[in-house]
């Protein structure tokens, strides 16, 4: 995360490859399911043996003795509808929920988060020299309507995108944050309204942030969980 500050995001997951290196983020939506983005994975049939989801720690490279860290192998990848760029990752076993590991709520189907809603992104990605490398960083934003977003970004923002208001400073997601959450506070609960997707540049000032809108795919998420 460029800008932002170290923070607490107990549903943010670090995805690790076979070498144990962090390569993308994700969000815990059930004890044994994580949502991330398709771009982070080689295929919808990828053999993910040796890949792990790590959570419960604030550190990018926690010590092996870190008492709060939970590492669970990823057992399956399920790709979302073609236009979604989402993937669901099934964990080999459920994680233990506690003060450091929590599931994030899913929004109601097709719900549009009102503009100005308070949201945040989190991740262990590149900080572009803005400090606090190696710890989980969080940056705060406010939702912006898609109409305004299209005007400012000068591109047609689709219904399955969700935007955050531009800021006058360089703050935003960067390499290594993709797949992580855009979590918004509704009714005292944090809700996964967006998923961080790759975009040109990191935290460009005066530019809206564009994310995949999760509410459009909640029916698919529930179907995968059920089936």
């Amino acid at each position: 995360i460029v800008g932002g500050l170290p923070g607490n995001s107990p549903w943010t997951v670090s995805l690790r490859n076979r070498q144990g290196d962090h390569f993308c983020g994700g969000s815990l939506v059930k004890e044994n399911w994580v949502i991330s983005t398709r771009q982070c994975f080689s295929s919808c049939d990828a053999d993910l043996s040796g890949y792990e989801a790590v959570m419960g720690t604030l550190f990018k490279n926690p010590s092996p003795q870190d008492p709060d860290k939970q590492s669970v192998p990823i057992s399956r990848i399920v790709c979302g509808p073609s236009d979604s760029s989402l993937v669901m990752l099934k964990l080999e076993r459920p994680v233990t929920l506690n003060s450091r590991v929590a599931v994030i709520c899913l929004p109601p189907e097709r719900y549009i988060v009102p503009a100005e809603t308070k949201c945040e992104i989190a991740g262990w990605g590149d900080t572009r020299g803005t400090g606090h490398d190696g710890v989980l960083k969080v940056a705060h934003f406010q939702v912006m309507s898609n109409e305004d977003c299209s005007l400012i970004s000068r591109t047609k923002v689709l219904d399955n995108d969700i935007c955050t208001k531009p800021l006058p400073l360089e703050i935003g997601a960067c390499e290594g944050d993709y797949g992580g959450p855009l979590a918004c506070l509704t009714h005292e609960c944090w809700v996964l309204e967006g998923v961080i997707i790759p975009a040109r540049g990191c935290g460009r000032k005066k530019q809206p942030g564009i994310f995949t809108r999760v509410s459009v795919y909640v029916d698919w998420i529930n179907k995968v969980l059920k089936m």
Binding site: R38, S42, I112, E175, A183, V216, D219
Partner: protein
């Protein structure tokens, strides 16, 4: 510090079954290396199968190539066969070769070792010398390798032309796809088995890297090194490269198969000209060592397309990447390159309207090309899922949308790893605007809660 298991090829999840000889298989309760040692000491033992449940083995006088023997899938067993009996190449002069090749290099059929016609000879088969059937052998340590007397009365004997292991499977590119049977390093040290952690501890556990084929103690290249290598059985030498003959024919670079504008799978074939990372940092040229020193020199990786400073994937990472020109960021992915559209497009000119609830076409494959399962096979599941009587229009295995899925027609698939998926059908007239809800009844239970204490107050 070699392990006695080094003399064996492991075949996971199978046992050997001989219909008439099952009673001869006595179970020995012992660790796998003890079984290997026992089998190695008995000339008549050619293999053993190991039961990981009971931690016992059965010493076997046959291999998968023996008559009347069949392989049976059994998750509790691993079959260990002596390499000399199952390898189709020779080590040294092939004196220990016990394979089943029985024709010469010039295609003459070999004479049975036990008969003296058409060619009389001095050799008598014994349990030790391996002169079985009419298989090629090297009882006189001929430098040309295994040979045999031929059934042609005008040709007394001929070499069989069985290749040395280092020549049997040649090395193309950097040998990531090498699946040959060389088990010694270029200095002659014996390789450590990948499934053992001694004498050297290592991260390359075969179960963690199923796509790297880390078989037995054979040389492999799981980490995109310059060529195949292995950990050695010498405690003082951790690893060494192996000597394998390179392929003479052109390196397998087929431009037509490379993807120029998008990337498939891990993007190892991506040959486009994107040269900045996802966030726009220019890439460092591959032939430069500044600002980041690295091992991916274009001349050492001829098949990886390491041209200029283009995003590439020479090491099997998740996607194309590059070293960046930012001294503080060594590598970064180029996730902005688009993935190629799925290989399987719509099966025909058909399309669906709205959410495809009324689609009645005959497409019966998913977007990945997996055939659909008959709806009737999933009758119970669908009823409990839909909470509705089984809709009558769900005939055969055609793609349908009985649950009004907003993402279009779908089906249950024949792939056990993909319970359901969407079909290869497009929406008529392109994408339609989605209907989104501004207001919704929002109720959450225990999710999305966290301790909101300020981070600065933590340690």
């Amino acid at each position: 510090q070699r392990s006695p298991i080094n003399d064996y090829e492991r075949f996971k999840g199978v046992e050997l079954v001989h219909p008439q000889e099952e009673s001869r298989k006595d179970e020995i309760k012992a660790e796998v290396h003890v079984c290997a040692k026992q089998c190695s000491e008995l000339v008549e033992c050619k293999a053993f199968d190991y039961n990981w449940n009971s931690h016992s083995c059965r010493l076997l006088p046959w291999t998968e190539h023996s008559a009347r023997v069949s392989l049976l899938r059994n998750v509790h067993y691993d079959l260990y066969q002596k390499k000399d009996y199952v390898r189709d190449c020779i080590v040294g002069n092939g004196e220990t070769y016990r394979g089943t090749v029985s024709t010469t290099a010039k295609n003459k059929t070999c004479q049975q070792w036990r008969v003296k016609f058409p060619h009389d000879h001095k050799y008598t088969p014994t349990a030790k010398n391996g002169l079985e059937e009419n298989y090629c052998r090297n009882p006189d340590k001929d430098s040309g390798g295994p040979w045999c007397y031929t059934t042609d009365k005008n040709v007394r004997h001929q070499l069989c032309g069985i290749k040395k292991c280092e020549d049997a499977v040649c090395l193309s590119c950097n040998g990531e796809d090498y699946r040959g049977s060389v088990d010694r390093t270029e200095s002659g040290r014996e390789c450590q088995r990948w499934d053992l952690q001694s004498p050297h501890m290592h991260p390359y556990r075969p179960e963690k890297y199923p796509d790297k084929f880390l078989d037995d103690n054979y040389c492999r290249n799981p980490d995109s090194s310059e060529r195949p290598w292995c950990y050695t059985t010498d405690p003082d030498v951790e690893w060494e490269y192996c000597k394998i003959t390179p392929c003479i024919e052109k390196q397998r670079v087929i431009a037509a198969n490379k993807t120029p504008h998008c990337f498939k799978e891990r993007g190892e074939d991506y040959r486009g000209r994107v040269n900045v990372t996802t966030s726009g940092i220019p890439c460092q040229p591959w032939d430069s060592q500044t600002p980041h020193k690295h091992r991916f020199l274009p001349e050492k990786y001829p098949c990886k397309g390491l041209d200029k400073n283009y995003c590439r994937n020479p090491d099997g990472s998740e996607a194309p990447w590059c070293f960046t020109t930012n001294p503080n960021m060594r590598v970064a992915y180029c996730f902005q390159i688009h993935r190629c559209p799925d290989d399987i497009g719509p099966s025909g000119p058909e399309c669906y309207t709205d959410n495809g609830e009324l689609y009645a076409g005959k497409v019966s494959k998913t977007r990945k090309g997996i055939p659909c399962r008959n709806w009737s096979d999933k009758l119970d599941e669908l009823q409990s899922f839909l909470d509705l009587p089984f809709p009558g229009y769900l005939d055969n295995n055609y793609c349908r949308n009985p649950d009004k899925d907003s993402h279009g027609p779908w089906c249950y698939t024949m792939d056990p790893n993909t319970p359901f998926d969407y079909c290869a059908i497009k929406q008529c007239g392109g994408e339609k605007p989605l209907s989104l809800k501004n207001d919704a009844n929002i109720e959450f239970d225990s999710c999305g809660k966290r301790s909101e204490r300020a981070f600065s107050k933590a340690r």
